[in-house]
């Protein structure tokens, strides 16, 4: 018995010894390139927000003379430590994707020599010179998705599953709600907030099932990885969902009507690109429908629903798309205003 244990331990040592000697030759490569850290709000693999930002990082690494590192975190409690570790490491530029505004402001003020950026969801009137924020407004694109939901619903009940109750996320929800009510004033619009749990598909699925049980037939998900549960619930129930951030139409073809895309990949890439080209400027800028930073998956040629959806609904699609095109033109010309949860007090019509 004793010998057996001894041999196991010895074997372990040999394996580890080999591992050490084999790996000893390779060293962490040091580069003269510009270094950038991108701190993610939750782990990769959500096929949504975080993965979209990671796509921008990938593109920057491939096309620009930079070394961009992704730093994954597990949640709110790790954000500040991760940012501080990145500051300690001495990156040229540190991007925080969808992190807390106050924290980013504090860090920027505390470290005036460090350049920071936020490719998404940082909204503040005054930003210090070393902090740049690109904000993608999603209220208008969500409004267009709301039109689709309002016209296609058969139960006159639709819903949204939102990652949390915050202006950045309510921008999605109230845009959507306004869209639904615009074309279908009798419809009821429900919302379910997930308490900022963006990496829990089970929770997303449970919330969606509760809403489907309530009689809803279309659910708009705005919840990162948790939202995958919403899409799965739609497929399971044979009902419908609307995707977010990325083109998610193909995850469950025929159950996902469209997706509201938010090009965080582009805004991430743009910030890095500006830094490399020396055009980086602190301050707040917002991107919108007209910049191509957001829109519907239909704009980029997704036809999964048109090809696989039920005939009763696909028959309505041309009409839906025409209505959406009309509203889009009116919004872009300034003829029609969409509520923006980031900058406005809640309209009475949306309460």
């Amino acid at each position: 018995m004793n010998k057996k244990l001894l041999s196991v331990v010895l074997l372990l040592f040999v394996v580890v010894g080999v591992a050490f000697s084999a790996g000893a030759s390779e060293k962490a490569t040091q580069t003269d390139k510009i270094t950038v850290a991108v701190v993610m709000p939750s782990p990769l693999g959500d096929r949504s927000f975080v993965d979209s930002a990671a796509k921008g990082v990938e593109r920057a690494n491939a096309e620009l003379p930079v070394q961009v590192d992704i730093i994954e975190t597990q949640g709110v409690h790790e954000h500040e430590t991760a940012m501080r570790s990145a500051i300690n490491r001495g990156y040229d530029l540190i991007l925080g994707v969808g992190l807390d505004t106050q924290m980013m402001l504090d860090l920027a003020n505390e470290n005036p020599d460090q350049t920071f950026g936020s490719p998404s969801e940082l909204y503040a009137d005054n930003l210090p010179d070393n902090l740049a924020s690109l904000l993608i407004n999603v209220n208008k694109s969500s409004f267009l998705a709301g039109i689709a939901a309002g016209m296609l619903t058969e139960t006159n009940k639709v819903a949204a599953v939102c990652g949390g109750d915050a202006p950045g996320l309510n921008q999605f929800f109230y845009g959507f709600k306004q869209g639904v009510l615009e074309v279908n004033p009798d419809a009821e619009v429900f919302v379910n907030y997930l308490g900022f749990d963006f990496s829990n598909p089970t929770l997303g699925k449970e919330s969606a099932i509760a809403l489907y049980d309530e009689g809803c037939d279309i659910i708009y998900q705005v919840a990162g990885l948790s939202g995958e549960g919403v899409l799965a619930a739609a497929a399971e129930r044979g009902l419908y969902a609307i995707g977010v951030d990325n083109v998610q139409d193909s995850f469950y073809p025929g159950n996902i009507i469209t997706s509201v895309i938010k090009r965080v990949d582009n805004s991430t890439y743009d910030l890095i690109n500006e830094y490399v080209n020396g055009t980086y400027k602190g301050g707040f800028r917002s991107l919108d429908l007209e910049d191509g930073a957001t829109g519907l998956s239909w704009d980029v040629g997704a036809t999964d629903f048109a090809d696989n959806g039920p005939a009763s609904m696909t028959a309505k699609l041309p009409e839906v798309q025409k209505t959406i095109a009309d509203y889009r033109a009116r919004i872009l010309s300034g003829d029609y205003e969409v509520y923006d949860a980031l900058t406005m007090d809640l309209w009475d019509s949306l309460k």
Partner: protein, 361 residues
Amino acid sequence: MKRMSKTMALSALVPLCALILGILVTSIFIFLAGTSPLSAFEVLISGAFGTTGKVWPLLITLGQATPLILTGLAAMYSFRVGVFCIAQEGQYVFGAITAAWLGVALNLPPFLHVLVVLAASMVVGGIYGLIPAWLKVKLGVNEIISSIMLNSIAALVLEYMVAFPLRADQGQKAQSAVLDRAIWLPQFVQGSRWGISFVIAITLVVISYLYIWKTPKGYELRMVGQSARFARYGGVKADPTILQTLFLSGMIAGLAGSMEILGNYHRIMTGFSSGLGFDGLSVALLGQSHPLGVVIVAILLAGIRQGAQLGLQINLHVPRELGGVLIAMVILFIAAENVYRPYLEKLYDKIHAPKKELDHV
């Protein structure tokens, strides 16, 4: 000079052994991930306990260890009295909610304000600790089940509180208003989170040691923990001792939550807790339910977390999950101590047997 007893030596050896085994096994995974384990552990050590850079990683580790020391201490009290109460997470959260609420609601001179907030959080945490204790003592409810439920309740109450009553209007996310700067607990080095709360935690560790091993109350506590029936036979009332100890345990966990709010976050939001209460359980288990062990393990765990989950992925692009694997492996080997404990005992006897004879000469 008192000689180190066999049990004490073994309680030091077991975690050490678990740590080494954990590192060895994780090395294999790190190697498979295509990184040299040697440079990985270099990074791990410097990322956790290094003394370079703008804010020393060592200080950040100490700052992060502070709440762990306290929740570990809280769990230790519970284990010592023989109750496997795991409601530290809930007590921690309630302490934090109390601090975030009273920190805004009261208007007192700063020094007094801080004291009142800390005291109130301790009382709230203590009361939350009394619930599973009372249920166990009076109704025989299993404390594990009741404390798990209480943790879920605390998490949901937190979500409700930050979404509605405590919610700040201007804030982007659901979070409470930022506390007045005057009542922030000072940090020794800006940005390290290492501050006065660390000193308080260490003081409590010393007091706990003295309390448990040098006072009659502490003696009763240990006796109840080891055998409640025997304690009763010896004239010690087990039930009041359990209630008192769990109140104490809850107070410490509540204090941890409150100091995190006053010292680090300065406001409360959902998801701020990160399961620190649960980590306190591992800390107490790994630390062999001894105050000194709790301090060492808390610092070690905070260091591994800091170095493995952030340092490794920043410096070597090792997936952050591998850091989690290391922590899990260490805990696994502690849990499996019975497999190798006999060998350690034999080893100890072998080394000490001849020496003992010398002593007698």
